[in-house]
Symmetry: C2
Subunit: 342 residues, 2 copies
Amino acid sequence: MARRLNLEEIGRRAGVSRSTVSRVVNDDPNVSLKTKKRVEAVITETGYRPHAAARSLALNSTDVLGLVIPSAVETLFADPYFGRLIFGISRATNEVQMTLTLFLFGDVPDEESIISRVVSPGLVDGVIVTATTMGDPLIDYLRGAEMPFVVIGRPDDGGPVFSVDVDNRGGARAAALHLANLGRRRMALISAPANTSAGVDRTSGFLDGLAESDLDLEGRIREGDWTEGSGRAAMEELLADQPDAVFAASDRMAVGAMSAIRAAGLRCPEDVGVVSFDGLIAPDQTSPPLTSVVQPVRKVGERAVKLLKAVVDDTVALPECIVFPTELAVGGSCGALPEKVL
Amino acid sequence: MARRLNLEEIGRRAGVSRSTVSRVVNDDPNVSLKTKKRVEAVITETGYRPHAAARSLALNSTDVLGLVIPSAVETLFADPYFGRLIFGISRATNEVQMTLTLFLFGDVPDEESIISRVVSPGLVDGVIVTATTMGDPLIDYLRGAEMPFVVIGRPDDGGPVFSVDVDNRGGARAAALHLANLGRRRMALISAPANTSAGVDRTSGFLDGLAESDLDLEGRIREGDWTEGSGRAAMEELLADQPDAVFAASDRMAVGAMSAIRAAGLRCPEDVGVVSFDGLIAPDQTSPPLTSVVQPVRKVGERAVKLLKAVVDDTVALPECIVFPTELAVGGSCGALPEKVL
DNA sequence: CTTGCCTTTGGGAGCGCTCACAATATAGAG
DNA sequence: CTCTATATTGTGAGCGCTCCCAAAGGCAAG
């Protein structure tokens, strides 16, 4: 009665052997049509489903991918970026008929136990790592455990890894050039944490663009922590230096900056132009709509999954770094009229 | 050389049997200290980690929980609710030393393949289901597959299920009473989708509160879809009826409503008071700060995990429905002075 | 020295699956 | 009708782990 449903049992009921049932389940063409029908009937009737763990053990492959976010403090999660990324990765994972498991680090005590699960064999076939900070030991753990992985972002050290990133530097540079073209001269920067590759790249890209325009920050720079609150605080300080434009390294920080500008009785874009990075805020969510460097978050997620699958299947030769271009989406916050979009 | 690391191999190197190594790995006290040390040394030295799938097969338990969100359209994901919920669940899962896998339904083609994975044995020990719509067949699939599950929200039909919910009805009622106490008389409602239990409960709770105050909506009701845009559109329509207050069934919709109020040249709270549900928006993110019915999202997630674990471990008798209370957090948007908080 | 008890260790079987290969059935050609 | 070639099915072994029980070792009491 309480006999566990397995290949043997299905075979018994259909009058065939375990192998034949296995063939049917796995769409092996070497089964006669008649047998196949019979077995399929029994499977539907019993509601049999193969045991995933047994399959994983035999195949030494789980069809599960992991997504590791080592610095998932709750505030960080308020950023729409992660929702979007998780969504994109999840979709792509579904598309290749795999399952996604999530490793979010809360506080330090978790860490060790999570890492040990991440790298333990037989749980996931490979992992996507994102939001790492410079010098994060996780990468080395993964290497040591021979767990296939793909990094979203730019890996910190020179070691060869597979990675998917966006052109943070180019995007930030475009933001600077755009503001310079609009005649802004006293620009300010709300940068992202310098212990992340995105933070570093966006800052240096913005400085590149300024330099090309013969401009300089002259100290009008504050580091935020991706949050709206930090953007607001940074802007409040920066306003003392009377900038005529500000580049915030993330949408959330830009929203904070805009509220600080408004609170100071200044107008955006007339008094202070704002350009941000991410492109995740819908035009009708801020007024004026944010001009932002758009990064293709979903594409990044999808590409990361495809790349990881290739790494797992060993169908890719050398570590490759894929970099997606970014694009400036002009709203009203920078002072350009939407009609004047290049 | 390329000998796979397993219990047998570790045992060979430590001069003991696979059973002894297993005992060491699982902290079985029946091992002499000397042996234990020796085995542990080999384990550290080799970086051995037990094979999760093999373990799962032998134990018939995976230590993995699933989180199923069957209606994860991308827009839905823009709501801070899900980020918060996923975070809470993830933390709680880590705390009990388990792993979380995510089943997000994208579009319909995914569905079947995802469901079949959700209910397939050996992948997860149980699942938490949230954001279901009325009549979602998923619940029946889970029942049929004998997969332990816990629903977040109120299950649609009468069938006995384990569930964790918040007091949507009581919270919405409190919102109505609060506004009525402040002297508002022409209230409007931006409701959440009527095919969700939260939508239904928040609407009926609000109506309860109005009735107790001898008030009526008189048709000033529009259904939103949780998004900011839908809140804005709903408010634009409702303004024609000149309401003096509005209750939006979610924070996001309230933010949309506030922007519609502002766009119409009206003031909040003076002309139209606003109360929302969720309590996920920081006070400094809107001006004036939102008065909102706070639901303990993280607690809900944590409780769901604990309950599911109890169901999986079979340490709980009858299906129980846990309902968390909600609490009105008074900001400025309703017209009450923060000092006047009851 | 023997006996019995408790601690510690080892070996067999089995979890449900896949794979390789052997065995059988089927069919077509001679 | 026999013989091979091919299509189809069954069997054994093994993936790495846990559990159960038997075997071995240690120790104190008789």
